[in-house]
Subunit: 342 residues, 2 copies
């Protein structure tokens, strides 16, 4: 890679302290991403601890460390503590973005704390109250994203329209789908079905610039009938957790049913595949908080190095494809034709 | 069995015309149930068609036929047509219960039509606006029922309390569980989580006579953390359809993954088991519409003889254990301490 390309490498501030396997696996993933993905990494955390981990790798001093001495202790509510302890690693990483010293932040720490920092330091795009949680939902339906997956609970119809805008741009940039189809999760296919929220969202979607294909039902999540399936975060949260629970149960079931019939290796391959197929987000790594006025990515708390690499890769994709700028334009376009309810 | 027992056999009016495999499989199931389950069957339907089917079996004229000449044609909305065509088989079977000529009605016809007939001819129990849909949800969690599964969409908090009362009695009678645990489906375990509906339902449940264990989350449906999991019918409907879709996808996946590794027989056994484990309601047969002032049972439209036998068995269980009477008493007890919101 030439000097010019190197100069254009995006700079990503990685929270080295967040996640179940921090700092070991986070630093490992960050080092790997800096070597493979053409990004410049800033590791943010307790300086001595991060240096200690980084010393394991021969990085040629290309990875910078920024000290973040504040620690959130067990028992503290991270989303509150992060505002009080301003030199916590999540807060410091997010401020690096605000200050223009990094292009994006990545953390596998508390989702609540990441959200609070993103809101505090970067703010949201027009019409967005809280970042939207969402992304590819099920490995079995790889061309389908579901939004919202739990960040926005009890939403108004215009927020479902925002989810659709965000999902459409997300599916285009991250899944490479042109003009993604949008489905409204509902209890029946016909217009007029559902609760008040769904009934009121339907015409907003129908009259929007989006490729709305109407209501979709529960089975359509599994079969991937639409590229973007939108729902209240309450149901999205239940669905994502139900899928996780089922993946766990199914793997135990497969082990029990197959143990006398095929080798252990075959069972292990099968259960690993099933786990990935049932929980796409974990396997892919995380991605940017959607609706933030800047790129702040979250990875699953259980992320190991591979998921950190995946999250950094998705973060780079967001930066290179103008995810935030496109989302801002899309939201403005949709909102121009839709009255925002109070 | 002695004469006294025979005299006490419950009389069940079976809609012979409803369901994808009517009248063949319905009549077959009804005959089998009358032989095995100690019930007296009245078959309701187009007389000639039912006689024709019944002639295949040596029933010794113990099965009565009641004519129901009205037919709902393709393209008619069954839930409306059934009120106009009063001699439709569902309406006639339900009226036999109202008139005391049968103890219960069973149909695999349109759920909407069954509901309308139950409301019209039997009415609902106190505080119930529409019958509650629910029952065992997942074969993997055989000691857990979920209510509501789609009949009641956009419910008020006091209705969630009603679902809990119904679920508790249902789990006791049909699953044999003493003092069933109740969980409120939510996005987090702590009190105060969730949408307005869940936040308001929590104290009603906490202050009730029920064995409420607090909020449960999506994974708890799969692992069966509570015996009764209650939720708005919107989410219940999505969950039941999502599970059906996943069962379909998973079975194709197993076939593909295993076809070079084990015999076709092993695959078939496995996929059949998985189907049953993913869709308990279909495998078990249906059961009574919950909240109706009388026993009117619905079976899945795809029911074959085995599911009709199962539904009739569940119907007999409901009658013998005073399901309706216990539900009425439970609802009155819960409502005595809970203001009904308008």
């Amino acid at each position: 890679m030439g000097t010019a390309d190197k100069a254009m490498q995006p700079v990503i501030a990685v929270d080295a302290m967040g996640g179940d396997y921090a700092p070991e696996e986070i630093v490992k993933g960050a080092v790997q991403a800096s070597e493979e993905n053409g990004v410049k990494i800033i590791l943010v955390g307790i300086k001595a601890a991060v240096e200690n981990e980084l010393a394991k790798y021969d990085t040629g001093h290309t990875i910078e460390i920024v000290d973040a001495p504040d620690i959130i202790k067990d028992g503290e509510e991270p989303a509150f503590a992060v505002l009080r302890k301003k030199n916590n690693s999540i807060a410091v990483a997010t401020r690096l973005v605000k200050e223009g010293k990094a292009d994006a932040a990545v953390s596998a720490g508390s989702t609540g704390a990441c959200m609070v920092c993103a809101l505090q330091y970067l703010g949201t795009l027009p019409g967005i109250e809280r970042p939207i949680a969402g992304g590819a939902f099920l490995g079995f339906a790889p061309h389908t994203v579901v939004m919202d997956l739990g960040a926005n609970v009890g939403v108004k119809p215009y927020q479902l329209l925002n989810f659709a805008v965000a999902g459409s741009i997300y599916a285009h940039i991250f899944l490479g789908i042109d003009n993604p189809t949008i489905g409204l999760l509902n209890v029946g296919a016909e217009e007029g079905k559902g609760n008040e929220q769904a009934k009121k969202a339907f015409p907003l979607l129908k009259n929007s610039h989006l490729n709305f294909i109407g209501n979709v039902e529960g089975m359509d999540i599994a079969t991937g009938k639409a590229n973007v399936i939108i729902c209240d975060g309450f149901i999205g949260n239940v669905l994502v957790k139900y899928s996780e629970g089922l993946a766990y149960i199914l793997n135990h079931w497969i082990e029990k049913e197959m143990k006398d019939k095929v080798s252990e290796d075959v069972i292990q391959t099968l259960t690993q595949k099933l786990y990935r197929s049932m929980s796409s987000a974990v396997a892919m790594g995380g991605g940017p908080l959607i609706g933030v006025n800047g790129v702040a990515s979250i990875a699953h708390g259980s992320s190991r190095a591979a998921q950190i690499v995946g999250t950094i890769k998705n973060t780079k994709t967001a930066l290179e494809n103008g995810f935030v700028e496109k989302l801002k334009a899309g939201l403005e376009k949709a909102q121009a034709s839709t009255p925002v309810e109070e």
